[in-house]
Symmetry: C2
Subunit: 299 residues, 2 copies
C-alpha cells in the first residue's frame, strides 16, 4: 500500500567539526520520503522555490516518489543552516530562511486523499491538521514533531494528538510534552493525550515504543562514525511508515519490526551529509542491517 | 561455582529530591555481593569499622554471603554522602570519610584464593592488583572501576586491564579512557588495552557488550520511578558475575544473558534506598523481570 508524506522540503547547509556542505537536499519530507521509498510507493507533498536544483527532483524521481503534490513556485526554497558540536549530539541552528515555505498550504490532489498510510512529518501542527482535514479515508496516521512546536504551537499540537494513531518524538520533547523526566511515564501520559502508540527516539540509544499493553525497546544500529545526523529522525519515521505500508495484517503486529527498519535506514542517513548516503543504498543493504540488529539484540 | 567479590563496604547517606536517608548499607562490594548471591555462593572481602551495625552483618548473612574475608577493625566505617538532582542522573558527592577504609589491604583467606569467578568491584586499582596477586587459580576475572581512578590512578588501571578478562565501566568513563566520543569505537579500543570483553553501562539506556567478534545491546529494565540509583552499577556487575558462576560451559555463550540478569537486579536496586529493595527480592522476582526484558526486546 502507498504512503502519503507531508513535510518540509529544504536546502540544508551543514557544518560539522570535520566538514561543511552547502545546499544539500534536506527537509523532513525529503528524508522521510526517500526512507519510505525502499518499502512502499510514496506520494510526497511539499513546496520548493524556483532555485530548487533539478538534480534533487531527479533524486526524488530515482526513488519513485510521486511528485504530484510537490508545489513549485517562484521564490527561494526553505533554507536551513546549522552546526554540530564535536560529539555530534548538540546542534545549533545558524539561520532559518523560510522563503516559499512561508506560503505553504499543503493541498492534496484527489488521488492523495485516500492514501492508506499517512506520515505527517515535522511541520507546523496547523499544517498537519490541514492535511488531515483533506483526507477522505485513511488507515494509519503517524505524526512527527519538534521542540519548536511544543513552544509556539502547543495547543495545535495537543489537538493533533487526538487525531493521529501514533506520535513520534524525541526524548527531550517527550519529557517536555508530558512534564516528567521518566521516559516510560512520559510515553504513557502522551498516549492518554490521544495517540494509541507513542514512539520516543533516543538517537544513539535507540527508541522506545509504548503501546496500550506493551513496551518495546528498539536498539540503534551501532555506528563507529557519525558524519551528519541531520534527517536521521525523519528517516526513522519514514522507514517506519514505509515498512508498515509494505506488510499485511494488523499494524500492531508489525510496529516493532517497522521501528527496527526505521533504525536501519536512519543509520545510513547518519553516514553521509544530507541524503548522500541514503540515496545510494538498496533494500538489500537495509535488510542486512536489520539482520545485524537481530543478532546484536538477541539473548 | 562460587564468586569472590572485593570492593568497598560503606555506610551511605543519600539525599534525593524526595527524601534523605542516613547510614544505609552501601559500598561496591555490598551491592555486588547481594546481587550475586541470588545466583551463586559469594565470598566477600572488605573492611568495616567498630560502628558497623550488626543488622548489616545479619543482612549479608541472610544472603548466604561468606564473611571470612570481611575485616572488622577499630574505627569508623567508610562513610559516603551524596545528593541526586531532580532527574536522578546527576550525583553530587557531599562528603567522603574513608575511616578504616584508608588502611584496607584486601587479604584473601586461603579458601578464597582459588575462587573460579572474581569480581574486582570498584576500589583503587592498586587494591585490585593486590587481590589478583594473591589468587592461585581463577577462571574469569571481571573488574569494575570509576572516573576517580581514571583521574588519579590511570597507570595502575591500565596495567590492571592486561590482567582481567572483562572490564565493566560506564559510558563517560569509557569515552575518557578511550579518548573518543563514540562508544562502539571506545569499546573496541579498550579491548585492545587488554580485556577480551568490555561492558559499557549506560544507566537508563541499558548496556553494551563488546566481544572480539560481536556486539550485544542490552536493554535496561523500564522503571516508572527511580528512588535511588546508588549501587545500580555495582548490582549490575554483581548480578552479571553471579549469573556466570551459576551456569556451565564457555563464558562467552552466557555473557549476554548474564548482562540481562545484571540489568534486572540493578532495576530492583534503583527502586529503594541503599539495599532496602534488593534485600527483599527473590530469584523468582529477578527471573520475572528477565522474562519481561525478553518480551520487550523481541522483534
Amino acid at each position: 500500500m502507498s504512503v502519503l508524506i507531508v513535510g518540509s522540503t529544504a536546502l540544508d547547509s551543514i557544518k560539522t567539526p570535520r566538514r561543511a556542505c552547502a545546499k544539500l537536499l534536506g527537509g523532513s519530507a525529503s528524508h522521510a520520503s526517500v526512507a519510505a521509498s525502499f518499502f512502499a510507493p510514496v506520494k510526497m507533498v511539499g513546496i520548493v522555490g524556483s532555485d530548487f536544483p533539478t538534480r534533487y527532483i531527479a533524486l526524488y524521481r530515482r526513488h519513485g516518489i510521486d511528485l504530484a503534490g510537490l508545489q513549485r513556485v517562484e521564490g527561494r526554497t526553505f533554507h536551513w543552516s546549522g552546526e554540530y558540536e564535536v560529539n555530534m549530539n548538540n546542534r545549533r541552528t545558524l539561520t532559518t530562511e523560510l522563503g516559499v515555505f512561508e506560503q505553504f498550504r499543503p493541498a492534496l490532489p484527489p488521488t492523495h486523499q485516500t492514501t492508506p498510510y499517512v506520515l505527517l512529518a515535522n511541520i507546523a501542527p496547523a499544517l498537519q491538521h490541514h492535511v488531515l482535514d483533506q483526507m477522505r479515508r485513511r488507515r494509519f496516521v503517524v505524526a512527527d514533531t519538534m521542540d519548536l512546536w511544543l513552544r509556539i504551537a502547543r495547543a495545535d499540537l495537543l489537538r493533533l494528538l487526538r487525531r493521529v494513531d501514533a506520535l513520534v518524538l524525541n526524548d527531550s520533547e517527550a519529557r517536555d510534552l508530558a512534564g516528567t523526566d521518566n521516559l516510560f511515564t512520559a510515553a504513557a501520559r502522551i498516549r492518554r493525550m490521544g495517540p494509541r502508540y507513542v514512539v520516543i527516539k533516543k538517537g544513539e540509544h535507540g527508541a522506545v515504543l509504548s503501546c496500550p499493553d506493551s513496551l518495546f525497546v528498539c536498539p540503534a544500529y551501532p555506528l563507529a562514525r557519525v558524519t551528519d545526523p541531520t534527517g536521521a529522525g525523519d528517516s526513522f519515521a519514514g522507514g517506519l511508515v514505509g515498512y508498515l505500508a509494505s506488510v499485511k495484517g494488523p499494524v500492531e503486529r508489525h510496529l516493532r519490526r517497522a521501528m527496527v527498519y526505521g533504525s536501519a535506514v536512519a543509520s545510513f542517513c547518519c553516514e553521509g551529509f544530507g541524503l548522500s548516503r541514503t540515496d545510494r543504498i538498496t533494500r538489500a543493504d537495509i535488510d542486512a542491517r536489520v539482520a545485524e540488529l537481530e543478532r546484536l539484540a538477541r539473548f
